[in-house]
Symmetry: C2
Subunit: 113 residues, 2 copies
DNA sequence: ATTATATACCTCGAAATCTTAGGTATATAA
DNA sequence: TTATATACCTAAGATTTCGAGGTATATAAT
């Protein structure tokens, strides 16, 4: 275990997935883990034990669809947003943003001393 | 259930508590719930079912100490930071800030279309 | 040849956290 | 006398995440 932020805050993982797919349109699981690492300079890591169940849940909720392809002899399962998924990506992102603003209000408190 | 952000992201509740106590020095549980509502214009609500176990855990970890007083005929349990609690407040706050910056990087992605 | 690393998927048990729903009790306003 | 506000608490259940494991192929290193 290194000093990086190894955990993902509850509720934010699904938003991260939805948002990445809004940006990229089509990604597979392993790619998502690498992309998050790349975007955060290695500071954030999504574990596969969290990612795959989350992907399956989003698919079961009808927010994602999948297409499986074989590339270089290995199977890849590509995920993309459904119509519902696109809407949810927008609304959940703005909810998370609102939450973070409120959290920031608290984190920016200065002791009155 | 209204439209407010009713949930608190995992891992952030303890930081919120520590940070509030850094600001206020001495608070009791009920006061914390009211203060969070006030600071976030009612958008964030900490449920007592989450708060009290979190307070007890922080106390067990040695980050908080308590003093019980009776005010207006009702018992109040005041919490304040220990030395360890002050250090943890600083380090956990900066960790959470770093996490939020990384999260923002992802949320601010613009589709390349 | 073989071992390690990177790629790519997955599941499952344990740990942690939060929600929902209760419980107890006092003071005050309707 | 009933409701609301204050003030503490627990416990069951759901959800989420972590950690550890499993399978398999391609490639680079030894």
């Amino acid at each position: 275990m290194n000093s990086t932020t190894q955990h993902v805050l509850k509720g934010s993982l699904s938003v991260i997935i939805l948002k990445l797919l809004e940006d990229r349109e089509r990604m597979y699981g392993y790619e998502i883990t690498q992309q998050v690492k790349a975007l955060t300079a290695g500071e954030m890591a999504i574990t596969e034990g969290a990612l795959y169940p989350a992907l399956h849940k989003l698919e079961a909720e009808g927010l994602l669809t999948t297409e499986t392809e074989v590339v270089d002899g290995r199977a890849r399962k590509y995920y993309s947003l459904t119509k519902d998924g696109q809407q949810q990506s927008v609304s959940r992102t703005s909810e998370l943003r609102a939450f973070m603003e409120n959290l920031n209000t608290i984190l920016n408190l200065k002791p009155a001393i």
